[in-house]
């Protein structure tokens, strides 16, 4: 392979503040793969909460900030499908009436990837050489699977983790009920939905659930904790991490 591109880490805001270990796992993973990384420290939030709530003006302001922060990036990799969906599909929409910004948005969209997508589709890596002792199932988060079409990539990566027994749950593509502010505005409906998800996970026989979006996992983890379920909830980066893989038991 020619000199690999330097990856600019796009650390989703929730990962940054609540799950920094996911970001660290990514760093370790890229390190092991000898891929140079950088982290533009002025990044904040991609603007998704505002966009999904209808506040497109504010979302566009956040988007413009993002475009500035990542202006020099060779390639941008993010451990969240919904944030990549935001950048890839909604940024161009936000600037459709501003040709100069639109062009920047499209250029940035074209070099922004979700982690499993980047590993499998761009780098051609399906085996990260990690190990994990446990039975894991995979939750397809909505924007990742339906809007980005990323379904097989994470599964390929998971199947190649040594020691990991992979099982599918029923309705893995069904929404977990998070939906951003939906989960706060309509908590009862959201809870009923995450209960369905949790039941499907437990019925699969898995002791670990993983996925590519921390927001869904946070929802699942939060409900599992309240229900007192014994379940490991880990972001896929944590399972792929060569050093720490298997050490979460």
């Amino acid at each position: 392979m020619s000199q690999p591109k330097t990856v600019s880490l796009f650390i989703q805001c929730l990962v940054d503040s609540m799950f920094p270990e996911v970001g660290e796992a990514m760093v370790n993973l890229f390190d092991r793969l000898c891929i140079p990384i950088t982290y533009p420290a002025d990044q904040t939030c991609c603007g998704q909460p505002a966009f999904n709530s209808g506040y497109r003006k504010q979302a566009a302001e956040a988007a413009a900030h993002f475009l500035n922060v990542f202006a020099d990036a060779e390639v941008i990799v993010c451990p969240s499908g919904s944030c990549v969906h935001m950048v890839r599909h909604h940024y161009p929409l936000l600037f459709e009436d501003d040709p100069a910004m639109l062009q920047r948005a499209q250029q940035t969209a074209a070099k922004t990837f979700e982690l499993s997508e980047y590993l499998v589709d761009i780098l051609g890596i399906t085996d990260t050489g990690s190990t994990y002792a446990g039975t894991a199932t995979y939750h397809d988060s909505c924007h990742l699977s339906r809007e980005l079409g990323i379904k097989e990539q994470p599964r390929q990566l998971l199947r190649n983790i040594s020691g990991l027994h992979f099982v599918e749950m029923n309705d893995s593509e069904k929404c977990c009920g998070f939906g951003g502010t939906f989960s706060v505005h309509y908590p009862e409906i959201s809870t009923a939905m995450v209960d369905d998800k949790l039941d499907a996970i437990l019925a699969s026989g898995a002791d670990t659930v993983t996925g590519c979006d921390i927001s869904c996992l946070m929802n699942i983890k939060g409900r599992a904790s309240r229900r007192g379920e014994k379940l490991q909830v880990l972001h896929i980066a944590q399972l792929l991490e060569p050093v720490h893989g298997g050490s979460h038991e």
Partner: protein, 488 residues
Amino acid sequence: MSKQSERASYTDLAHQGLKNAPLQKGLRGIQQRYGQGALHIWDSFADPSLRKRVKAKRESTLAHLDIVLEELTKNIEQRGGNVFFAPTAQDAVNYVLDLASKKEVQRVVKGKSMTSAEIGMDEALEQAGIKVVETDLGEYIVQLNQDTASHIIAPCIHLDRKQIGRLFHEKLDIPYTDDPPTLTQEARKALRKELLSADMGITGCNIACAETGHISLVSNEGNIRMATTMPKIHVALMGMERVAATLDEHASLLQLLTRGAALQKLSTYVSFQGGPSEKGSPDGPEEFHLVIIDNGRSKILADPDFQEVLSCIRCGACLNICPVYGRIGGHAYNSPYSGPIGAVITPLLHGINNHADLCKGETLCGACKEVCPVENDLPRMLSVLRHKLAYGDPQWNVTPHNKSEHRFFSLWSRLVRTPKLYHILIRLSGVLQRPFLSRDNMVSKLPGKFHGWTTTRDLPPIAESSFRQKWLQNKIASKNVVRKGQKD
């Protein structure tokens, strides 16, 4: 429908739905079988591009809707049928009431029609002293129960057979049974009497075809065939978008409709109606009236953001896959149109502010878009509706929905563009959360708005050091860090 003041809220009705055990069972059944089933059909369809092609045809028909409707009208009138164009619900209702009074109609039998519910047809007829009987089994049950439909295809999905058994026992005066075949036989007996003695049959219209000048109605019970041929007068109520320009488009839509709705290659019955019976023919009505209803549809048609929704063929597949509908059921939507399609069409027809909860009460998961036979991008339209609610939109008479939310996002926007302050505030929240941490290091009780999360869920805490902090303090070990352009 616009009785806002007496209306229970989306949230309250959703809670009732969540607690309704027969509804939950019915929803689970229908979603497992039909929602997943429809997805599977599209995945394994011999003609994988059919949906895309049909959508393109729908869009072209909608772009020329005036011409298409003119052709439909001309062809039906040539065959001796009557066509009335109703700008509003009231115009449609008045037309039918006038007709009923002129023809001294006393008894009306109905085929299942959401358009009829949309315009309030049954109530108007009843107020005029006319007996109205629904003949679709599900609608009949709902009518006996003085209830409203909770699914656009399966109206009584919220009732189980025990409830229906008790209802029939009470209303039809038969011994209690919860045996479905027996109950169906009893309904059939009662309905046949009505069908044979009615003076007018009122149906909806699944798909009209301009090229041939006919309307098509699908059913699995045969009630439509009787309701459209036994009474002397047949009135079909049709939303103005429910028309195909050509027989070819019509045929494709029919294929998609029955597959999307019930996984059927074709429904048990398809009735084609295009006018009164021909002279000397013993079958068919003496008069045929097609009422084409606008009632807000022109406005939808004129807005490029929403025009697409008029491609809908009301198959119900989006209800059968939607994880929100699948838990709350149809009554929460306060409209004959429930589920994802209802969440888009109801605000557009009856006021976006009035139905703000419908615009906001979904997760935008995209399952409806994936299953829709005409590939309607309902999540996109919900997002546009939210955009209108955020800032208001005079064109749609929308006023800003939530001023404090607006203020919040304005402040938030300033923060996300001021990284230092943004990250300080997050660190501060980490300190403020401390009193809320439970033994297992989860946040189990939050004040204010976030209370909604912690009533049923725990929240992982804000980490002591964020990723950014660790990075800036060089606490993240990596051999390959490129620190160019990094300022601490």
